[in-house]
Amino acid sequence: MIYPLTEEQQMIKETARRLAKERIVPRRTELDEKEEFPWDILKEMAELDLFGIFIPEAYGGLGFGCFENALAVEEIAWGCAGMATTYAASGLAAYPILLFGNEEQKTKYLSEIAKGHKLAAFALSESQAGSDASAIQTTATANGNYYILNGIKQWITGGGEADVYIVIAVTDKQKGTRGVSAFIVEKGDPGLSFGKKERKMGIRASVTREVILGDCRIPKERLIGREGIGFIIAMRTLDYSRPGVGAIGVGLAQGALDEAVKYAKQRYQFGQPIISFQAVGHMLAEMATQIEAARALVYAVCRYIDAKAKDFSKYSAMSKLFASDMAMKVTTDAVQILGGCGYTKDYPVEKMMRDAKILQIYEGTNQIQRNILAQALNKEYGKV
C-alpha cells in the first residue's frame, strides 16, 4: 500500500488483518447464513486490544485516533462487513461519552468499552424518524433523581447484545431540536427491553433490533452533558463515525476486488484467462482505481479529524458517500466478473454485494449526505 505508516499503525493494521484472515474469513459464510452474533470473535478482538484504539490511554484505550481506527475497521471489513459493522458501531456509541461525557461517565464506561468487556450501541432512529432525525418521539421526563424514558428506537445495531446504549430523547418538546438530550441506558435498567431481531439482506453477522423503553428509569447522572444538546451530540458523533463507514466500504470493496482478480486469472474461456479480455481487465482497473480514491479520501478525512479540525461535517459526509457508493458498484462488478459462480453462495462475492447495500443507507442515507454537502457548500460560499 502506498501510505507510509508508523510502526504502531502497521501493528494495528496487521493485527486486524490477521484476525480477519485467520478468524473471520473462515467463519463469515456460516455467520451470514445463521445470522449468529459472533461473541467468540468479539472476545478475541477484545484480547487483541482492537476495541480501544481511539480511546485515550487514561481510560484504558490505546490513545490513537480516527485514522488508526479506520485502519482496523478497513481490515476487519475486508474479512466481513457484518463483523466490521458490529465492531465500528460499538466505537460509534463510545463517542458521545468520549466527547461530551463528564469524568465519572468516561471513567465508568470508556474503559469497559476499550477492553471489549461491554459493547455499546447508538440509539437515535425511530420508525417515524430516520432521515428526519429531528422527528424523534422518545421522551425523557425528569423525575426527582431519575429520568423516565418512553419510546421505541428502531434499527439499532447491537440492540439486545450491547450493554451500554446511548439514547437520544426529547426532554422539552417546545424547543424542537434544542429540546433533545442524550442519555446512557444500561442493559438491566428497569423498563428496557428489545424487539425481535431484524432479518436483513446483508451484514447478517451484525444484530439489529428495536430498543424499547417502557417507563425506563435511569439515574439522572446518566444524562450526557446537559439537557438540550442531544441533537448536537448525535450529529457530532455521526461526523466522527462516518469516515468509519467509509473505511468499511474500502475494506469490503478491497475484499471483493481481491476475489475478482483471483478468479479472473484462473477462469479460462476462449482459451485464455478472462483477465486478459479488455472488458474484464478494464472493469478490474476501474474497481481498483475507485477503491484507491475512496481510501485516499477516507484516510485524508481521518487525518484531518485527528489534527483537531473544528468543522469537518462536510468531509465526513464525503468520505461516507463516496466510499459507500463505490463499494456498492465494486461488489456488484465483482459478482459480474465471477459470473454464474459469483451468483452462488459457494463464492463470497454475493454476500459482499448484499453487505454493501446498507452502507448507502445507514448512518445517514447517501441522499442525506448529499443534502449535508449542498448545505455546507451553500454556507461556505456566503453571500454572492
Binding site: 504502531e8 501493528m11 494495528i12 493485527t15 490477521r18 485467520e22 487483541l48 486490544d49 490505546l62
Partner: protein, 261 residues
C-alpha cells in the same frame, strides 16, 4: 510458576538453500518463522500462565536473525526472551543443541516447567525435547495435548497412535506438545508494542559455560551427509483383480524381473 519455552526459528519452506560442504541448511538471509510446534508450546505456556500465574521465558539457539522470532514470541505474550547465539553454536545437531539449551536453562535455574514443540519442521527428529530433559534430569512427557497443574504436580494427557494416556509428574518437568494442545492465539496490539521495546539478552558460549567440544558442528555426533529429494518413482503399476489373480500377476512380475526364480 516459571515457564521456559524452547523455540526454534525454521526456514519458511519456499526459500531454503543447502550448504553443499556441510549438508546443512543455509539459514542466514532466509525468511524465518517460529517452528509451528513451538508456537503451540508457547500457547500452552500462555494458557498455564493465565490459569496459574507466573512468567514465561522463551529461549532459542540460532544466528542473530533469530531475535525476530523471540520478539514475535514476546508479542504473543512471553515475558522475557534470551537468544543463544555464537559462531561456535553453528552446525549443531540435536545432541549439541540440547547441550547448549541445557546449559542455558541451568543458568536460568529457576523454573517449574520446560515446554517444547514436539518436533521442528525442518529436522523432524523430535529429539531435542527428550535429550534436554535427560541432560537436566527432568521427568518428561511427550506428545502432550492437555496440561493441568494440581497440588504441585503436573497432569498431562498425551496422544498415542491408538488412544490417550494420562500421566502425572512432579515438578520441575519437561513437556513436548502437539497441536491439539489448543489453537494458537493472535498477537495483540499491546503485545506487538511490547515486543518492539523488549530487551533481549544474547548469551554466547562463554556466558553459559559451554565446553567447546560439546557445541556446534564439533559437538555433533551425527553429520548430515546429503539432503535430497527422493527421486520420483516411475513406472508404477497397480495390480488389480481378486486376491488370487493379484498374487498370480505379482509372482509373474517378480519372476520376469529376475527377482524371483
Amino acid at each position: 510458576m516459571n515457564f521456559i519455552v524452547c523455540l526454534k526459528q525454521v526456514p519458511e519452506t519456499e526459500s531454503v538453500k543447502i550448504d553443499k560442504k556441510t549438508g546443512t541448511l543455509i539459514r542466514a538471509g532466509v525468511k524465518g518463522i517460529i517452528n509451528p510446534y513451538d508456537l503451540y508450546a508457547l500457547e500452552a505456556a500462555l494458557r498455564l500462565k493465565e490459569t496459574y500465574g507466573g512468567q514465561i521465558t522463551v529461549i532459542s539457539m540460532g544466528p542473530p536473525q533469530t531475535e525476530e522470532a523471540l520478539r514475535e514470541a514476546i508479542s504473543y505474550g512471553a515475558d522475557k526472551a534470551i537468544l543463544l547465539s555464537d559462531r561456535l553454536f553453528a552446525g549443531a545437531d540435536t545432541l549439541a543443541t540440547s547441550y547448549t539449551l541445557a546449559q542455558a536453562i541451568k543458568k536460568i535455574d529457576n523454573f517449574d516447567l520446560v515446554l517444547c514443540g514436539k518436533e521442528a519442521i525442518d529436522g523432524n527428529t523430535a529429539q531435542v525435547g527428550p535429550e534436554l530433559a535427560q541432560r537436566l534430569s527432568l521427568p518428561y512427557i511427550t506428545y502432550v495435548h492437555k496440561i493441568k497443574i494440581e497440588n504441585g504436580k503436573v497432569i498431562a494427557e498425551r496422544s498415542l497412535e491408538d488412544g490417550c494416556q494420562t500421566l502425572t509428574s512432579s515438578l520441575p518437568a519437561l513437556m513436548t506438545v502437539v497441536k491439539e494442545i489448543g489453537q494458537v492465539r493472535l498477537p495483540s496490539i499491546r503485545g506487538k508494542m511490547q515486543a518492539k521495546k523488549a530487551h533481549i539478552s544474547t548469551w554466547g558460549a562463554k556466558d553459559i559455560f559451554a565446553i567447546e567440544e560439546k557445541i556446534g558442528f564439533t559437538g555433533s555426533a551425527t553429520r548430515v551427509i546429503k539432503i535430497f529429494s527422493p527421486p520420483l518413482r516411475e513406472g508404477r503399476e497397480i495390480i488389480s483383480g481378486t486376491a488370487d489373480e493379484q498374487v498370480r500377476k505379482l509372482l509373474g512380475h517378480l519372476q520376469s524381473q529376475g527377482i524371483l526364480k
